[in-house]
Amino acid sequence: MSFRSEEPSVSEGTGGRALSFFQERFDLDDSSLATTLDTALERSVDAADLYLEYTTTDSVSLEEGLVKGGDRHVEQGIGVRALRGERQGYAHSDEISLESARLAAGTARAIADESRPHTPVAIGARGPDHDLYPIDEAPTEVPVATKVDWLGEIDAYARSRDARVKQVMASIVCQQKHVLIAASDGTRVADIRPLVRLNVQVMASDGTRREVGYQGAGGRYGLDQLRDPSRWKGLVDEAIRTALLNLEAEPCPAGTMDVVLGPGWPGILLHEAIGHGLEGDFNRKKTSAFSDRLGQRVAAEGVTVVDDGTIPGRRGSLNVDDEGTPTRRNVLIENGVLVSYMQDRLNARLMGVEPTGNGRRESYAHTPLPRMTNTFMLAGEDDPEEILRSVDRGLYAVSFGGGQVDITSGKFVFSASEAYRIENGRIGPPVKGATLIGNGPDVLTRVSRIGHDLALDEGVGTCGKDGQGVPVGVGLPTIRLDGLTVGGTQG
């Protein structure tokens, strides 16, 4: 898979359409946005911003051969924030109107008590710098009947592949999110963000054991990309392969060993072990294991890690972040040395640096936080097969369920959904229930080989922080890590 983003084309289209959506639907124009911000600024706050959202999400799901349910969810609202030093006042309402916006602004500004004169806000029109997800048809506009028929094809195909497939569950989730962001510095930017996802889960049984296999894919593109039969059939085949493989899997060994991570989704290692620790809020507060370590070596030579919100169509990509800052490609670790944190506006201001386009939020009901977009390690030069051959006894982990990190101690964990023993440089039997655990600031210093096969994941990741979930991407080439703790049951 190619990962290097092409130069995105500049388009007035998406931002312009998003703006007129709010103007027409809610009768809000630049002067009403400015008036609301003025209400917040009547107290002595440093800055204020507004976030308007109108999101339609629909999903259709199948099990037992039936599309048993469909649902459609409209989420709309406005969030108003006032900022003063480290303080944030935030109020939100699910009613988008000038009246509710001014009420919310009045609440948000309560973090400052004294009033003061201020210069009225002048809203300036500005489109996003790039359009990373131009689509012809909103995924939420694709007729339900089309999705229902497609799920039926998926079910029939999966059941035809192997008699051990006992259950098939599949769902198609489509979202179209309109946002409008305005801030007291004059920012006014709008965006329309499509997001699609196909999930396939099969349960296979050999008569004695039952195992589940899952595969999903998605991104910010039209549904047509996933409807290509070679694409979705590949996902179904993967789900079946994983379930059948796990029927054969042995208990996982426990202890410290060399670990080879396969390309793509195992990049979740970067997300957990490194990424969260490099978010600006933890570093401004100095609660991260990476605090005050800019300029220091935190990874082996040759390791370069980037967070890039500008890759067209990716699940973690955004034209602008949720504070209106254009996204960009941020190098976090360059050749083993820590060079940058990820920032939202609040933490950037408090740390005296530029925002990096990482200010994200789940919805209008949440305050922005520094968050990742698409986080991956650049490719090296090693041949992936040669990397496997270099390991005498160890673990080869190809896919993962999920992970978690303790930012402060740096300890992370993630659970493999597909893994094998490595014996004498060869891939051995599959093992189940492998969990990897380690120390974030230390794990990348254990990278001893980097493959040339960088891949990004299929587009299914959701990152949780402070109770907010946002879509993200990860990526990794095949790498070897020396001496990682593997948690299994076989001592």
């Binding site: 809610f26 039936l66 048993k68 349910g69 469909g70 649902d71 459609r72 969810h73 409209v74 989420e75 709309q76 303080r87 944030q88 006042g89 935030y90 939100h92 309402s93 699910d94 009613e95 009246e99 609440t107 948000a108 339900v144 009947a145 229902v148 259950q167 349960m203 049984s205 039952r210 589940v212 426990a254 410290t256 507060k285 609660t287 294991a289 009901a365 305050t367 369920g401 999920g402 992970g403 303790d406 402060t408 101690s409 300890k411 992370f412 964990v413 993630f414 659970s415 189940k432 229930g433 492998a434 969990t435 655990i437 120390n439 703790t485 948690g487 299994g488 049951t489 076989q490 001592g491």
Partner: protein, 457 residues
């Protein structure tokens, strides 16, 4: 946009939605409306970091339309409660239902709806009048107690206080219409301890339906600080098989995993390792697990479930024997059984199975006494990661806690995993403590599992 003045009552909005869906051709329909009023404040060091206030509404309509062989179902939800918007989404729900497949098991429960709404003490009206400043003061006191507990507490992620008030109204086309109010309040503190190069965070929290249920703010801060401090100097231990003691903060997660495996959906899908074990002994005889939606003041209490069925007390496991599944109407029908009153539902989704107040019955002994009984083993105080497979029961999670040697805490432990299979772990519970404290909807006394694999150095 509907203005605040002249707004319909919640019951009127639910009636409008029911009628709208009926007019559009729904054979059956049910409607859930939730209105919430939430506040959250966070203090970090001397600064008020966040003051957040919100009012939220959600209306969900489930329409069921007669198909060739059963009912076709769909759910549509919105926060726009203007009468014309409600009429429109009622029509949308019916149109969407017509596009789905007929399902012989779909439908509303035929009968058994809650006839009375019991008083469950789910909120105190006086708590609504408590000013935001008082909650800021609670957070401040917790934060300053945590920061002042020890010179090694050098930093924090802050202390936060939250209060939420909600009103739920549920109605269906079979004539049930009911509502109730509830509240939940919380106080949370997360300090950071530092000594040399070791930096550790931990937290403490308290929650309840009434402000008076909460632990005193200073105690919350001090407890959080103690927990962070005692983790300083944590290290790994060699890979071994030892008894593992879960404290009252980590033990409830095992009950949550058990509940997921006895949910009717996991059972009829055969995606639970317990799917064919009803009536069998699945845990040691010390294990009694109960789910009760009617505990007065319980954080999981509600008078009726997401389908209008009365909540009740269900004994899931008695002396280690699996007594019942957790069921809503749909999963009950799939299994040829009756609902256990465990339909859980938000405005935006169809009913699913959920627990209410879930707990493991206490036996005897304090945590210290349980530690003293272990010659060589592990006390787990924190679990991270998602290493649990309900289909097989395979369990492998990251853990932190304390090494026990000769009945005493020897040193803090981190960067290890504990692994086993939930089926074996339940059978291997050979000790249950005597203290049950509610901090959420699920509670457990400390419990000991005779043997698990600990992976470390």
């Amino acid at each position: 946009m509907s203005a605040a003045a002249g707004r319909e009552t919640m019951e009127e909005t639910v009636q409008r939605a029911l009628e709208g869906a009926h007019r559009a051709g729904a054979t059956q329909v049910d409607v859930l409306l939730v209105e919430g009023d939430d506040r959250e404040v966070r203090v970090r060091g001397d600064e008020i970091e966040l003051v957040k206030q919100a009012q939220e509404r959600g209306l969900g309509i489930r329409a069921l339309v007669q198909g060739s062989d059963g009912l076709q179902a769909a759910v549509v939800s919105t926060s726009d409660l203007a009468p014309d918007a409600v009429d429109r989404i009622a029509e949308e729900a019916v149109a969407l239902a017509r596009a789905t497949a007929a399902d012989p098991a779909a439908g509303l429960p035929e009968s058994g709806f809650a006839e009375t709404i019991p008083e469950l003490d789910l909120f105190d009206p006086a708590d609504r009048d408590v000013p935001l400043e008082a909650r800021i003061e609670d957070a401040r006191r917790a934060e300053s107690a945590a920061r002042g507990a020890d010179p090694r507490i050098t930093n924090s992620e802050g202390s936060s206080a939250s209060s939420g008030f909600a009103r739920v109204v549920y109605g269906n086309s079979l004539g049930f219409l009911g509502g109730y109010e509830s509240a939940s309040h919380g106080l949370f503190s997360e300090p950071i301890a530092r000594e040399g190069n070791s930096m550790q965070r931990d937290y403490w929290m308290t929650a309840g339906r009434h402000l008076r249920d909460l632990e005193e703010p200073g105690a919350v801060g001090r407890q959080a600080a103690d927990r962070a401090l005692r983790r300083l100097g944590a290290r790994r231990v060699p890979t071994c098989e030892v008894p593992v003691l879960f404290d009252d903060r980590t033990a409830p997660s095992l009950l949550g995993q058990l509940a997921a495996c006895v949910s009717g959906y996991a059972v009829y899908r055969e995606s639970s390792f317990l799917a064919d074990r009803l009536g069998d002994t699945i845990a040691s005889e010390r294990v009694h697990v109960i789910d009760d939606g009617r505990l007065p003041g319980g954080l999981g209490s509600k008078p009726f479930d997401g389908e209008g069925q009365p909540t009740r007390r269900n004994v899931l496991v008695s002396k280690g024997r699996l007594e019942t599944w957790l069921l809503d109407h749909y999963s009950a029908r799939k299994l040829g059984l009756e609902s256990t009153g465990n339909a859980s539902r938000g405005a935006g989704s169809a009913p699913r199975v959920g627990t209410t107040n879930l707990w493991l019955e206490p036996d005897t002994g304090s945590l210290d006494e349980l530690v003293a009984e272990i010659d060589r083993g592990l006390l787990v105080t924190e679990l991270i990661g998602m290493g649990f497979n309900p289909t097989t029961g395979d369990y492998s999670r990251g853990a932190a806690g304390f090494w026990i040697e000769g009945g005493e805490i020897a040193h803090p432990v981190e960067e290890i995993t504990i692994a086993g299979n939930l089926g074996d772990m339940l059978m291997d519970i050979d000790r249950v403590g005597g203290e049950l404290v509610w901090r959420g909807r699920t509670a457990s006394p400390p419990l000991r599992i005779a043997r698990m694999t600990v992976a470390g150095e």
